[in-house]
Subunit: 166 residues, 2 copies
Amino acid sequence: MSFRLIPSDLLAMATIALCWMPASGGPGGAIAFPHDYRGWTHVKSALVGSESSLFATEGGIHHIYANSAAMEGCRTGKFPDGAMIVYDLLETVETRGLTVEGTRRRVDVMVKDSHRFSESGGWGFRRFLGYYEAAPISSPASAPQVCFGCHQSQSAHDFVFSTFRK
Amino acid sequence: MSFRLIPSDLLAMATIALCWMPASGGPGGAIAFPHDYRGWTHVKSALVGSESSLFATEGGIHHIYANSAAMEGCRTGKFPDGAMIVYDLLETVETRGLTVEGTRRRVDVMVKDSHRFSESGGWGFRRFLGYYEAAPISSPASAPQVCFGCHQSQSAHDFVFSTFRK
């Protein structure tokens, strides 16, 4: 077991890669909740603890899931239309050194549609708070470019932060 | 974000549910490494930290994966022949409160074959150390029932500890 220190929070930025855009998600209506995402491929996971500056919003364990089209993108670096990626954030419960998954905090979704979301690299984004059974919370309409503002740094990887952990 | 204490290590026992049997895995030869398991369904995850009594052997983050037959078992409580479950244990790297996945420590596999493994609830077990590219390490032949000795407590769930985290 090794715990190595690395010099920056870049990894944090890479793993909490999804944020939000307006509930409309762009022309054509809102991005729907992907009810089947727990059957998608598990890309990678990370844990944000109380010592992290990101704890308030990202604290807990998060998993990245990709549908089959997004997995093609993970392999080739180019994500086809229809690619969907989920950032699944759960609370954690710790007992004597064992940390297990608790209540879901949030599900963030990014969807590739090069025509519908042409102004943000072909990606649309939407955030759902808590369990998916609950009504999704619309994101502030005043911040339509927040997600892409961060994701556009990853233009060399088609605006996706996560890479598949083999 | 909540951190609630629970009274026992039962959850630890439930999440580190897989152990080992002889390399032969029973009649018919060894259980082969399931090279496609990273495409299986992600069942759940947990983290074993340095404060845990299980740290020496189980320290790190582990993910449970189930193939489609095992997912049928997760839904019905009865696992058909062909069901396979993987316990995927990775080291972790922590930086200022962010814990990400590191080197793979181990892959434990359980396979349902009611005829081949009739003496252990229909399940065979095998352990692979490190990355699957490396040669699998044969488990001590002197401990053929260690896995099932623990798993048989879960007879009401067909000897499987993990339940699907939705």
